[in-house]
């Protein structure tokens, strides 16, 4: 009989419903943000996060990963994104429902929500009995519509957990209660060893997400989705930041052609560029 692992993992995967990657983003007429009447889908980095959670379950001995839960904070339509996560292999989902036309929540509010949720989970004896405390939070490094890239780090700070961001490789050692993460940094890669519990944010090279097959999508419709409201978690989503204006970048002006090297040097001199 194999001895049961020292710790069973309970993984939380926050996912965001963001503007789809193939949509051409446009500034809205009021210049306060982008036109959101476009296709949305799960943030690609979050897809990678969900995939990594499932691969952890496949790589580690069976039963090590006790539970994978996806959570999203957003309008009613965020449910679609949770269903996708369920279809790909998450066990359950939670939805913190914001009103349809509320302003987009800010990263700090999201981080506080997740921290609050995790603390509620970890302090409820019944839940801890069933699935254990939340050990790993794995989320995308940034959302592709706002490109802010701070939620994971803020969450780690609020929880007081270690963080391994921009992960391109994740190795879990349950026996030693730690995780070794290869991070993408300017100029190469860095390996960090973190004790559990830990917050990991995913980068592009971590994995290639699988497709949700139709039979699994059908089954996902029946998986449970916990519904929560902001008041359940005691979070205020009033924006702390005011966006003054959003504009498109200035249009590129055409270049010019030069006839000879001498002309090129002349033009460079005119533009104020001197030799070193």
């Amino acid at each position: 009989m194999r001895p049961s692992p020292a710790r069973l993992l309970n993984i939380l995967v926050p996912v965001k419903r963001a503007v789809d990657y193939s949509v051409k983003i446009r500034v809205n007429p009021q210049q306060t943000g982008i036109d959101t009447n476009v296709k949305h889908s799960m943030n690609p980095f979050d897809e990678i996060a969900v995939e990594e959670a499932i691969r952890m379950r496949e790589r580690l001995p069976p039963g090590t990963v006790k539970h994978i839960k996806a959570i999203s904070i957003g309008p009613p339509k965020a449910l679609d994104v949770l269903r996708t996560a369920l279809a790909v292999g998450a066990d359950s989902a939670a939805h913190v429902a914001l009103p349809e036309n509320a302003p987009a929540p800010e990263p700090l509010a999201i981080a506080k929500t997740l921290a609050s949720y995790i603390n509620i989970q970890n302090s409820d004896p019944a839940k801890v009995e069933k699935d254990g405390k939340v050990d790993v939070v794995i989320l995308g490094k940034q959302a592709i519509d706002d490109d802010l890239g701070v939620t994971g780090q803020m969450l780690a700070g609020l929880l007081g957990w270690g963080q391994a961001t921009f992960a391109s490789k994740v190795e879990v050692d349950v026996g030693k209660n730690e995780v070794v993460v290869t991070r993408e940094i300017d100029g190469g890669a860095e390996e960090v060893r973190c004790r559990l519990p830990v917050v990991i944010t995913t980068d592009l090279r971590l994995n290639e997400p699988r497709y949700a097959s139709l039979p699994n999508i059908m089954k996902a419709k029946k998986k449970p989705v916990e519904k929560l409201s902001p008041s359940d978690l005691g979070i205020d989503y009033t924006p702390q930041l005011t966006t003054l204006r959003v504009t498109e970048p200035p249009k590129r002006v055409g270049g010019g052609k030069v006839g000879s090297v001498e002309e090129l040097v002349e033009r460079l001199k005119d533009a104020g560029i001197t030799g070193v």
């Binding site: 949509v23 446009r26 007429p29 009447n37 790909v88 097959s213 139709l214 059908m218």
Partner: protein
């Protein structure tokens, strides 16, 4: 080889009643991706598919398909018998592949959902306030009278994409229809042996459902780690609602010879842009149609401008696909049209927010095929229900969906009764005879849809004579204003002098046969682009949001449809081979040959077919597809040397940039060699229309 574990049967997914009817052996594929020996070729005969059973499977989540789904669920409520309805949609969400003008007549919506006006969020917020027709010359726009059918009292200007999204929301939330976007109906599931008689008394295999697209194949037809075979939906009734020139509809028409007694279908391409115009130019509810410039007198078509809700303007150009000059580019014609003073003024200070294109049917009444085949039926524009005088078809499409639903309901109830009786008798499992949808065909021809199309049936053909659009205008004026179609004759669509091969099978298009050789015409000098008013093609295509997952089989197959159906359904020779890669390129067919799904002769045939395609298209038609495709998919490029393995001719080869495809279907219809068969790519690809 993919191994499936029968972890759960799909019994959990069937309503209790259905479990009585059959002892169903289903396999479900496990969630985790099975690791394969990296890159084994796809063997269509050796894969195991997940299966599920439904009562009605609807291919296509557009107005017709969704109306059918809603109507079925309404009958379920009225009559009390459960019915499982599944809608498959190849777009990433409902509405992402929907593009139309559009001014809709709410007649069918009033019948389907009478209370729609009281529903929050309904999209019919902009009534049409006027209807004008203008004749354009290079510099002027002259008002002219229009057919009375074009009047717009009681109609609404909408984005059909948004309308469809709303309808889907109603279907899912109010009626419990199962809608699966991102999954394309890729293949018809035929019965194992001929078990039905078709409209012509022949013994044929019936349609027993639909198989969705496989996912995770490389361009060379090898299985990636993420490979998942398509799922098979066994359905009592299969409704094809794929819109104009649907891919499965085309195969059904070919297989069951549904066009035997009908005129061939004729088409037009509609290229559309949506602009946010300067408020000074915006006049909500305005509807304008244009004839004349930039099209010449031999080309049928015209432009439109509709002022939608919320400061947006829909504009575009419809060009009939029977145009003769292979040098014509419908895209360049649209951009040229915008240089007209009328459009310049309208679009000054505006911003373009959308672009797209889609073919529409123009054949009308004469081109309606037989609508029913054993086990299913054609709905909406898959049959072809656009009224070209009104330039509207949504009302007809929705009504056809409702009628089909009513017949399908009857058919499903009858099958259930027979099955119970048979089980009681034999005490065993029976699949029973296929459902008969001919009641729908009859109901269609007794409905107002038929009358709607009948009245205007002679208008479009009247434009096909030597007198070009002038003859058409004169005849249509008389017919639509005075006679209203109450004449004893029904014109046929204009045939070319040498109809020949063009009309021998039900799927070669008449439009392609009317294209003349390049030697009879000269290249057209289009004006240079003037951004931001008019832009190059790739800038426009970026606005469609189209994309397809990389490294998947090319979905535009270079093979005639009748050969495609034979090869993929295993109807060649003794049925030993099922060449799923036919038309996808020599490399792909070679992979199939490795696993015995195709023969060496098939590989050579593939190369020869491609060479022939390039020879005729480049040699005789100056590479028509390069100019015609509104997304820049096709290119005829130079290669070194001749006779390479991929099928080149005279130093040219065909390059298909299938990732750009916006699913308009023009290539399938217009290619002079009629050897492009449009098939579905992996689901979720294609454009992401929201305001079109």
């Amino acid at each position: 080889m993919l191994r499936a574990k029968a972890t759960t049967t799909s019994r959990a997914l069937l309503p209790a009643r259905h479990q009585l009817l059959k002892k169903f052996r289903a396999r479900t594929i496990r969630t985790s991706a099975v690791r394969l020996n990296g890159g084994a070729p796809f063997d269509p005969k050796a894969i195991e598919r997940a299966e599920d059973e439904v009562d009605v499977c609807i291919v296509g989540g557009g107005p017709a398909g969704l109306s059918a789904a809603i109507r079925l669920k309404q009958l379920e409520r009225e009559k009390g018998n459960e019915i499982r309805v599944v809608v498959l949609e190849k777009g990433s969400e409902i509405g992402s592949h929907v593009l139309s003008g559009a001014v809709i007549e709410p007649r069918a919506l009033d019948e389907l959902i009478p209370e729609w006006r009281t529903m929050a969020d309904h999209p019919l917020t902009q009534p049409a306030t006027s209807s004008k027709m203008l004749f354009l010359t290079k510099n002027m726009s002259l008002p002219i009278p229009h057919p009375p059918q074009m009047g717009n009292k009681g109609n609404y200007i909408v984005s059909l994409s948004q309308f469809t999204r709303w309808l889907a929301q109603v279907a899912e939330n109010e009626y419990g229809v199962e809608i699966y976007p991102g999954f394309a109906g890729a293949q018809l599931l035929l019965s194992d042996s001929p078990d039905a008689t078709d409209n012509w008394g022949r013994k044929v295999r019936s349609v027993r459902g639909v198989v969705t697209n496989e996912v995770g194949l490389t361009k060379e037809f090898r299985m990636k780690g993420s490979f998942e075979p398509g799922m098979a939906f066994r359905a009592k009734v299969t409704l094809l609602a794929e819109g104009a020139h649907g891919s499965l509809a085309k195969q059904a028409i070919q297989h069951y010879d549904l066009r035997r007694e009908a005129e061939p279908q004729t088409y037009a391409i509609g290229l559309k842009e949506v602009w946010r115009v300067d408020p000074s130019q915006y006049n909500a509810g305005t509807v304008q149609h244009f004839l004349g410039w930039p099209l010449d007198s031999q080309t049928y078509g015209g432009g439109w401008v509709y002022h939608m809700d919320d400061g947006l303007v829909s504009l575009g150009l419809v060009v009939a696909l029977d145009y003769k000059n292979p040098y014509m580019s419908p895209y360049r014609e649209l951009q040229k049209m915008k240089h007209h003073p009328f459009f310049r003024a309208l679009l000054e200070g505006g911003e373009r927010v959308g672009y797209g294109a889609r073919v529409l049917t123009e054949g009308g009444y004469q081109s309606l095929p037989k609508l029913a085949f054993p086990g299913g039926a054609l709905l909406g524009c898959s049959a072809g229900v656009v009224n070209i005088a009104k330039i509207k078809g949504t009302h007809n499409a929705m009504k056809s969906g409702m009628l089909a639903a009513e017949s399908a309901w009857e058919a499903v109830q009858a099958k259930a009764k027979n099955a119970e009786a048979a089980e009681a008798e034999e005490g065993g499992e029976t699949t029973g005879p296929p459902t008969d949808m001919t009641g729908y065909d009859t109901a269609f021809h007794n409905s107002w849809v038929r009358d709607d199309l009948y009245e205007v049936r002679n208008l479009r053909p009247s434009f096909g004579t030597q007198l070009g659009i002038w003859g058409g205008i004169v005849y249509s004026g008389i017919d639509s204003l005075l006679l209203k179609g109450r004449v004893p004759w029904t014109f046929k669509h204009h045939r070319p002098a040498n109809a020949a091969d063009a009309m021998t099978d039900g799927t070669s298009s008449l439009d392609s046969a009317l294209t003349e050789r390049a030697e009879k015409h000269s290249p057209i000098e289009y004006p240079p682009f003037e951004p931001p008013l008019s832009t190059d093609l790739m800038t426009s295509v970026a606005l469609t949001g189209t994309n397809h997952a990389e490294d998947q089989p090319v979905h535009l197959r270079v093979v005639k449809t009748r050969d495609f159906v034979r090869a993929t359904q295993g109807l060649n020779g003794d049925g030993a081979t099922v060449n799923a890669a036919v038309g996808a390129g020599v490399g792909a067919v070679r992979a199939e040959a490795e696993v015995g799904a195709a023969t060496e002769a098939d590989v050579e045939e593939e190369r020869r077919r491609r060479e022939e395609h390039v020879r005729v298209n480049v040699g005789e038609y100056a590479g028509l597809l390069e100019r015609a495709c509104p997304a820049g998919v096709y290119e005829y490029v130079d290669v070194e040397g001749e006779g390479s393995s991929e099928g080149t001719w005279n130093g040219k080869k065909l390059v298909i940039n299938s990732q750009n495809c916006i699913h308009c279907k023009l290539c399938d219809i217009k290619v002079p060699t009629q050897d492009i068969t449009w098939t579905v790519p992996e689901g979720s690809g294609g454009p992401k229309y929201t305001v079109t």
